[in-house]
């Protein structure tokens, strides 16, 4: 059960933290009720709760963490607090239930671009991160430059399908080691748009396709480099940007022969609670439920 706030935030061209937290308070319980109903489940059949402890917007995390733990306390159920980022990697289990570490994971979303290793001991090690914008931010900002609606990722994805990805040679984002950097390519797009007096529909599609290609190429280049340095039997892609059709297609072509490639269905790449449920199961096996009440942690990493 996913309750999207995209429509709520669309008029502002991005997520408004205060709006998000207000909506959370009012919608969370009805969403829980609907999810139970859709699953044909009653509370009496629920054995435990999993909840995102972080990272994210503090106002939203506070609502989730406190509501979930209050319900758990009142119903005497155990609760497992998990990392939203790790959950994007664990989401691979929703696609392939035999998925086991070691796994090389790429988590790309509006807030994150992280390259991680889910190790055999269960820990997650971050081996690459963005130096500036996240990949999803790069898509959102690019979409705004191109005059496309929020959320920008799907808008560019759609428009790019009718464009020529080789029309404009955008610079490939470079950062040291396995890190990412997207501010350069965003600036290049801005200059490209500014130097043209008028942009035809075809030119806009070409720009979108070329811009998307630069981001996708940069992401996959880092995964290839990490895989070359220390090959993992399995590679998992996750996060909202992993819905991008060009990224999924190019990943299949470039990574498919390097490892067992797992890309969850688009709706399981976007933020969802099923991945939090899987994460709670994995964390439960590893360390058990949380023994005492815990706080939200907006800057939590992968564990």
């Amino acid at each position: 059960m996913i309750r999207s706030q995209d429509a709520l935030h669309a008029p502002y061209g991005g997520v408004v933290p205060e709006l998000a937290a207000r909506a959370h308070l009012q919608t969370l319980i009805p969403v829980i009720e609907r999810a139970l109903e859709d699953a044909g489940t009653r509370w009496e059949q629920v054995d435990a709760l999993g909840v995102t402890r972080g990272p994210g917007l503090i106002g939203c995390l506070l609502v989730g963490v406190n509501l979930a733990q209050a319900i758990a306390w009142a119903r005497k159920l155990p609760v497992v607090g998990v990392s939203h980022l790790a959950a994007h990697v664990y989401a691979g289990l929703l696609e392939d239930e035999d998925l086991r570490p070691p796994v090389l994971g790429l988590v790309v979303s509006g807030g994150h671009s992280d390259l991680v290793r889910w190790q055999e001991n269960g820990e997650m090690a971050v081996i690459g991160r963005t130096r500036d914008d996240a990949a999803g931010e790069a898509f959102d900002k690019g979409a705004r430059i191109l005059g496309l609606p929020f959320p920008g990722g799907p808008a560019i994805d759609k428009l790019a399908a009718t464009g020529d990805a080789r029309a404009v040679a955008f610079p490939r984002p470079r950062a040291p080691g396995l890190d990412f950097s997207f501010s350069g390519v965003k600036t290049a797009l801005l200059y490209e748009v500014r130097k043209r007096k008028a942009i035809s529909d075809q030119a806009r599609a070409d720009l979108a396709a070329s811009y998307q290609e630069a981001i996708v190429d940069a992401l996959l280049q880092r995964v290839e480099a990490a895989q070359a340095a220390d090959p993992a039997p399995t590679i998992v892609l996750g996060g909202g940007v992993a819905r991008n059709r060009r990224l999924r297609e190019a990943a299949q072509a470039r990574l498919g022969h390097l490892a067992h490639l797992v890309i969850p269905a688009p709706e399981l790449c976007t933020d969802n609670a099923a991945m939090v449920g899987v994460a709670a199961l994995i964390e439960w096996d590893r360390r058990g439920p949380d023994p005492a009440p815990f706080d939200a942690d907006p800057s939590l990493g992968f564990s």
Binding site: I29, N66, Q69, I71, P293
Partner: protein, 214 residues
């Protein structure tokens, strides 16, 4: 047993009551590194001789007040009421604060709203948000004032500093909360779980702007 939660301000409190009888209370001052409120709540309910199954109703302060504190208090209250299928009530924070003064007439409650603004409440009116500089004109010279944080009236309106009730003469927040909770349980209507919302008191200018936006 019924539970009352006020985490909307600097002083925070929980109270467990049975009818009009107080079973257990907890007062603390908000600070970094506090244990989660749920840990306090768990300890308090046990101290009152009960457990989750004994909960009959929940009331939480809905503000105006701290963004973080309100989200914690309202989420806990909603979660508890929903999970136990018991009535959920919300109560305005400033009238609770005002009850830290005893006797008549009811005290005026002032709470720091940040950015040189003050949340202000007096009997018979909704809470408002004022620039501290406008407080002197709004505040009756006969008023008895509960200010939060204490001592702030001297900063907001120095000429009226003497109107503030000294800390030593104030009741605990939990005592004020208990009073207000009993009144709420006995006379107010419970909310639906999807009606849970913090009370936002915007400056007059922002309200004006909101009315113009469709």
């Amino acid at each position: 047993m019924r539970l009352a939660i006020d985490t909307s301000g600097v002083d925070q409190a929980l109270a467990v009551i049975d009818g009009r009888r107080v079973l257990a209370v907890d007062d603390w001052i908000r600070s970094r590194g506090d244990p989660p409120v749920l840990a306090r709540l768990d300890a308090l309910v046990r101290r009152a001789g009960g457990g989750p199954d004994d909960l009959d109703a929940v009331v939480a302060a809905r503000g105006p007040g701290s963004f973080t504190g309100l989200r914690i208090g309202l989420s806990l209250a909603a979660g508890l009421a929903y999970a136990r299928h018991v009535p959920l009530y919300l109560a305005d924070s400033l009238p609770i604060l005002a009850r830290r003064a005893t006797g008549d007439p009811a005290a005026v409650a002032l709470r720091d709203a940040g950015r040189a603004q003050v949340f202000a409440w007096r009997e018979g009116e909704p809470a408002r948000r004022l620039p501290a500089a406008e407080l002197a004109a709004w505040l009756p010279n006969s008023a008895r004032v509960i200010a939060e944080p204490p001592g702030m009236l001297a900063t907001w309106s120095p000429a009226q500093a003497h109107l503030e009730i000294p800390v030593a003469e104030r009741r605990s927040l939990s005592a004020a909360l208990t009073d207000f909770a009993i009144w709420t349980f006995e006379s107010q209507k419970p909310l639906r779980y999807d009606e849970v919302q913090a009370l936002y008191v915007q400056p007059a200018a922002a309200e004006e702007r909101d009315r113009k936006t469709p």
